[in-house]
Amino acid sequence: MSESPRPARRKVVTDAVREAAPVLALLVLLALATLLPPDLAGVALRLESADRTRANGMDAAFDRLPERALVLVAFDADLGTYAEIRPVVRAAIADLQGRGARLAMVSFTAEGRALAVAELSRLQRLGGGVEEIADLGFAGAAEAGLIGAIARIVPSEAEGSIVEAIRSRGADLDAFALALVVSGGDLSVRSWVEQVLPRVPDLPIAAIAPTFLEPELAPYLRTGQLRALLATLPEGLAYADGVAAADGGRTASVGAMPMLVGLLVALGLIVQSLMAPLVRQSRPDRWRRIG
């Protein structure tokens, strides 16, 4: 007599649900955590760094800009690490626009271009009366494209008042009062220091980078080759919170509660996984039976 396929199918479904249950529970937990206030049960949470040295450095770099300054945003973040720097990048763009700077965006990597396009269309959707950012497009070939852009950064088909202002200043990197480099794994501000600074020594460079680039970039800040650097989430958020406070909270920040919940889940799993072999050793018979 053959077995009915229904119980077998039900078992497959039950197994799949059982396997997916922890992941779904984690997602629900993270979603709930976004709704909770940051000071639940009297425990004050703080994501942003208490040390505002780097945040003040970025403020100072922007303070030095002349009125209606042309600022180049070199957008070469990568999809893997952009989530870490996204709130800081958005805060910096809002800050520069709030100060009246005229922004132009360019990318030298494909991932950077994709993210830049997404950010530009987000800003377009938001509107808000701020001047539109000039899109200088995609200059491929990473470092070679960067060197090529030193002498000619404006594509022939680009148009608009900001583009015309760049053209009237020579259409090269010298036209800008500041380059804000959004760094990623494929092309970081290190390439700018190595390739652009020797050729355009008067161009001030500030950078936003994910944490993994911090050890590589920090020396450039100490030598003055970088005017400002935000390269960890806490110091980036210290800057972003300052911008949010100044613009009345229009710039969104990151919730500390979901971060805490995620880290606690990870920690719990690490501890449980580390302890499991010890527990197994202390109770060998029971584990053998379960296994």
Binding site: A114, S121, S273
Partner: protein
Amino acid sequence: MRRSLTAGLALATGTILLLDLLILNPSLELLAGGLVELLILLAAAAAVGGAATLGAHHLRDLARGGPDRWGAVTLVGGMGLILVAGLRPGSTGSSDPAVNWLVSALLVPIASSLFALVFLFLLGAVRRGLSIGTREATVTVAAAGVMVVLLLPIGGAPGAGLATAAAWVRDVPLAAVFRGLLIGIAILVSVSAARILLGVGSADD
């Protein structure tokens, strides 16, 4: 012969670019600019070649009825969609609104969702790594556990203490290892470049 040609090309190109960096000369600048343009073209050709190979591989898979037919359909369909949006008559190419919409409304959210799964995959990898029971996995996971504790977003004096400790780990041991790696890589690249320029191969070792 082939080796000396490569070495000669590398030497000539490197010298011209270096001289352009050191000396202000319009002719030299023009020559170096031309070389950089060539390099950009080469990189673009490599990218197009890579994409064409990928497309051809998946089209072949589709024609043969390979096991990952839906994957191949998705990839070839996606490539076709972007190509049509960027190359159709009247399109402005990579900055065309249709291309921008495909990138910002589909590509970036899908890729971001995939990267968001890294957290879950990492947790799974931790469990599997420790279940194998190697010493390396235990040390790595234990170090990750310590870093997770240091990164907990807690306010007040305990939070400040954790943040100070995290900054010390980043600025001292991590930076030392990272910079050591960078210096090592730089030395290796220099040696390798010198070997190419001098025409020294593995047969000469």
